[in-house]
């Protein structure tokens, strides 16, 4: 990127002392998405405790995940990693009969340099179940980036059938990113309307249905945190990445579809009307937040897209905190952010990479924004100081993609505002302590 393009957006990097979920949390939504999978997290009690508490009631529903809890003998290499993993995986095979086992490497396996990638192919032959290794650890990644490491590992496993034998025309389109089935269907419909056929999704609902990926296929991401997957698809699978804003909010969705149409040489039909219609349906929510200010503390990498959408809704964004900023993969999204700001005539917000929560709370106390989007560690303390908050984690679990779900984003965003309005009678003023 040249300097002249960057002059509107300012990037800063703080200390990285911020709160977020450990990337192994991706297990919780990926085991539900990939129905024949089993996730084995190879780590310590700390990892187990986090998953157990973060997944809440899900844990009681016999999830298809477990911890391979490392004991002192594993750490000091008195036990043989291969034998230990074989024992556990055979037990999983017997009890659950999964179609694929994912090994999630953690901080501890990194530090003791357990050779998961080396052991997996050998064990895979021995027990006859595919084993995929993803290093979703807190040393390198934050929260949603966990999914990125898993999908990047899966990208290697997508079948490659020579184009001639399939007798297909060029080019095909494969979409990557894990979404609930209904959202997958919705986005597929939107593209079908433009006469664009989706050849496959990574991931699919079953491991056995992973899409064929061929050289020169087009790929496009649906989430901003999938840079490794994108890189893997380009470099290892020789596909072409379509760089577009992400289909979050009607503006993002339209831009996403338009970009695909553009690449496939299709004249988009009825998109503008579709976008306007969606905006019209959002009128009531938009009137609630117009002119209000919002502060993203940053913990899940959806921040840029959400901020861009909220600015289009008429909000003022004070700060966009984000764990990690891939300016190349998010390039189109950043450009749309800039364009949106200039069209809405607001200042482009500062993007703070690796934020420092302590400093941010200082800034929040000064700025007193109307809404802070933050993790659960800070939500209650901020509410107690009279500041409206929305838990950021909900955006990763809610359905927020496509035209259809734009309303759900605003439903989430406006909830604290609508709720606290109703509570005025019992004295919101009680909770405006400043310290």
């Amino acid at each position: 990127m040249t300097l002249s393009k960057e002059k509107h957006i300012t990037f800063e990097c703080e200390t990285g002392n911020y709160h977020t979920f450990c990337p192994i949390s991706c297990v919780s939504w990926l085991y539900q998405k990939i129905e024949d999978s089993f996730f084995l997290v190879i780590g310590t009690k700390t990892c187990g405790y986090f998953l157990q508490n973060a997944m809440g009631v899900m844990i009681f529903a016999e999830p298809r995940y477990a911890m391979a809890e490392l004991e002192e003998g594993d750490i000091s290499a008195q036990l043989n990693d291969y034998e230990e993993l074989k024992r556990l995986c055979l037990q999983i095979k017997r009890d659950r009969q999964p179609g694929v086992i994912f090994w999630i490497g953690t901080c501890t396996t990194e530090i003791i340099k357990m050779d998961l990638e080396g052991i997996a192919p050998k064990l895979e032959c021995d027990i006859n179940i595919p084993i995929i290794v993803a290093r979703a650890n807190g040393l390198d990644y934050a929260f949603t980036q966990g999914e990125d490491t898993v999908l990047a590992a899966m990208a290697h496993r997508c079948p490659d059938v020579a184009r001639e034998t399939l007798n297909q025309e060029l080019p095909r389109l494969v979409i990557f990113g894990s979404l609930p089935e209904s959202v997958v269907n919705q986005l597929t419909y939107e593209l079908n309307k433009q006469n664009i056929k989706v050849a496959g999704w990574l991931p699919s609902t079953r491991y056995s249905e992973l899409p064929v990926i061929q050289k020169d296929d087009y790929v496009i991401g649906i989430n901003p945190f999938l840079s490794r997957t994108a890189t893997t698809l380009m470099r290892k699978r020789k596909t072409k990445l379509i760089s577009a804003p992400f289909p979050i909010g009607p503006d993002g969705t339209r831009a996403w579809i338009e970009k695909i149409c553009n690449v496939f040489n299709v004249e988009p039909r009825g998109l503008e009307a579709r976008e306007n219609e969606t905006w019209k349906n959002l009128e009531e929510y938009r009137s609630l937040i117009k002119g209000k200010s919002v502060f993203f503390m940053g913990d899940n990498l959806l921040e840029i897209s959400l901020a861009r959408f909220l600015i289009r809704c008429g909000m003022i964004v004070y700060e966009i905190g984000i764990p990690y900023m891939d300016k190349r993969y998010q390039g189109a999204e950043l450009k749309l952010l800039e364009k949106t700001c200039s069209e809405m005539q607001v200042k482009v917000p500062k993007i703070i990479e690796k934020p420092d929560n302590y400093n941010q709370i200082d800034r929040i106390k000064d700025l007193r924004p109307d809404l802070v989007i933050t993790g659960m560690a800070h939500a209650n303390p901020l509410e107690a100081r009279g500041i409206n908050t929305k838990w950021s984690v909900e955006f990763t679990f809610a359905q927020i993609h496509g035209f259809t779900n734009a309303k759900d984003i605003l439903e989430l965003i406006t909830r604290p505002i609508r709720r606290n309005k109703k509570l005025e009678n019992i004295g919101n003023h009680l909770y405006s302590t400043q310290d």
């Binding site: 002392n17 709160h19 977020t20 450990c22 990337p23 192994i24 190879i42 310590t44 009690k45 700390t46 187990g48 405790y49 986090f50 157990q52 508490n53 973060a54 844990i59 009681f60 477990a66 911890m67 391979a68 809890e69 004991e71 002192e72 594993d74 750490i75 036990l79 230990e84 024992r87 556990l88 037990q91 999983i92 901080c107 501890t108 990194e110 530090i111 003791i112 807190g138 040393l139 390198d140 990644y141 934050a142 929260f143 209904s182 269907n185 419909y189 219609e277 969606t278 349906n281 009531e284 302590y358 993790g375 659960m376 560690a377 800070h378 209650n380 303390p381 107690a384 259809t404 309303k407």
Partner: protein, 508 residues
């Protein structure tokens, strides 16, 4: 390696953080990778804490892995020292950081030269102790640190108070009903005419720890945290301690008698016999309740008990000695405290289960088919699956275990609350049984004239499948709204696409 789906007790650092965050003005700095500060979420969510949890992480990332933490930990300590001005900073290793084998002691020594706060390193082995043992150990470590410091500075306050007084040791953040228990303990000591010298670590100041010896004796209500501290104070300063848990009438009586004996030995003659009588007769309704005709129904009913050592042992005693319920088996996940647990319940149930594997607990419940379960959140869910009612009596905790209303488990009010809990668990079980006998709730179909029953709209197979995915309690509403929308638009068959279209156009 161990295949594990669930654990009853958390990792060691959680115990340390629970102690640190219970004290006033103590800050914990975790030497941990990104994401290990989940403790803050639990404090903020479960306890609904209005303040920021005084725990930050000194992040271990790739750079630290490559070059060591170097100045990072020290800088983080001194930075926190300036920002928050804590009295004490506890550097807390995690299981990740402990295998890095960095010389954290050295960091602590260097940081304490610069910082105004005291700085110590939590001394727990992550691969050998769990959350509970670590909390016990950390509390002892902090108390020992300040007692020794006071000794050195010659400001240890060893002169006893004029009136008999006590330190209550082991009230912790994220403890099972600890805040409610504390209210009842205060009331108990007030009734016994004993002053409370200090309560630790709950909301205590570390600077005041030098006054701990002023108390005549120490009191440890829960076995899981505080015993080591009480033993330390006994060995160092000859302070006697009571480690009975006043949960249930029998245990309260024993606790009070133990206290009486200690006071008598310290030449303060007290006789609490009348007090015990009156309380049991009038303040606690539990004794009368067990005698009342309604509770006859509990005779011969069976139950199982599982939880931490303190609560499971006391609950077993209450059920079998005070309510006449047959306890089929009783167990604890505090495997490190098995001997004590055995000694407490061996004559009260036919089998004792010591395990931290929830599968074994689940199998045992299924095999023994009790009428009711008294256990943790895990047993509650096992009960759900097996259709057996469950009362939650112990950690691991859940947001439901932080009720807003006053629900102690200890003291006389505790006996009332427990009696309700036991009775309600069984009654529900009885109701279920009766319903079964008479064929369930009224099963006559309600003839409803909703939109669905008299229109000609059909649903495509995919749309039907999608509808089925919507949670039950809103499915009817979504179905009706979608059909209304389809009627208005004059669609005769609802496809997936129309469903989505409807979703966009209908404002709830």
């Amino acid at each position: 390696m161990k295949l594990a789906y669930w654990m009853y007790a958390g990792p060691a650092h959680i115990g340390t953080l629970r102690i640190a965050s219970s004290f006033k003005n103590v800050h914990a700095i975790m030497h941990a990778p990104l994401g290990d500060d989940y403790f803050n979420v639990m404090r903020s969510m479960l306890e609904r804490d209005r303040n920021f949890t005084p725990v930050t992480a000194s992040i271990v990332d790739r750079h630290v892995l490559a070059r060591g933490s170097q100045e990072k930990v020290i800088n983080n300590i001194t930075r926190k020292d300036k920002e928050e001005k804590p009295d004490l900073v506890i550097l807390t290793p995690t299981c990740t950081s402990s295998i890095l084998q960095e010389d954290l002691h050295n960091f602590v020594n260097r940081a304490s030269i610069e910082a105004l706060a005291d700085v110590i390193l939590a001394d727990v082995n992550h691969y050998r102790v769990n959350e509970l043992q670590a909390s016990d150990r950390t509390l002892e470590q902090i108390v020992a640190f300040y007692i020794n410091k006071a000794k050195k500075l010659n400001c240890l306050n060893v002169e006893k108070t004029l009136k008999p007084s006590v330190n209550i040791i082991g009230i912790l953040s994220l403890g099972f009903h600890n805040q409610h228990d504390l209210v009842d303990l205060k009331r108990l000591f007030n009734d016994l005419d004993i002053e409370i010298n200090q309560i630790i670590p709950d909301n205590a100041s570390v600077d005041a720890l030098k006054d701990l010896p002023k108390a005549w004796f120490n009191f440890v209500p829960y076995r899981e945290a505080g015993l080591l501290t009480a033993k330390f104070l006994y060995n160092e300063l000859d302070m006697p301690y009571v480690d009975k848990t006043p949960m249930g009438l029998t245990n309260i009586r024993q606790t009070v008698q133990d206290i009486q004996n200690i006071l008598n030995k310290l030449k303060c003659s007290r006789n609490y016999e009348n007090y015990l009588e009156t309380q049991a007769k009038y303040v606690s309704q539990a004794a009368w309740f067990s005698r009342s005709i309604d509770c006859q129904n509990l005779t011969g009913k069976t139950a199982i008990v599982f939880g931490d050592a303190t609560h499971a042992a006391a609950m077993t005693q209450i059920l079998s000695k005070e309510m006449g319920v047959e306890v089929l088996w009783s167990g604890t996940y505090c495997t490190h405290d098995a001997d004590w647990f055995n000694s407490q319940v061996e004559n009260l149930c036919s089998k004792i289960l010591i395990t931290d594997d929830h599968n074994i607990v689940g199998d045992m419940i299924a095999k023994t088919e009790p009428n009711a379960i008294f256990g943790t959140q895990m047993e509650r869910h096992i009960g759900k699956r097996l259709n057996i009612p469950c009362g939650v009596i112990s950690s691991p905790v859940h947001i439901q275990n932080f009720p807003l209303s006053y629900k102690p488990f200890l003291g006389y009010e505790g006996t009332n609350q427990i009696a309700d809990l036991i009775y309600n668990s069984f009654t529900l079980g009885m109701e279920d049984h009766l319903l079964d006998l008479f064929g369930g709730h009224d099963t006559t179909d309600i003839l409803n004239n909703t939109l669905s029953s008299d229109n000609n709209i059909t649903w495509s197979k995919e749309a039907m499948k999608e509808l089925a995915k919507i949670p039950g309690f809103v499915r009817g509403k979504v179905k009706r709204n979608t059909e209304k929308f389809a009627l208005r638009k004059q669609y005769s068959c609802i496809s997936l696409e129309i469903m989505y279209e409807a979703k966009e156009n209908i404002n709830n």
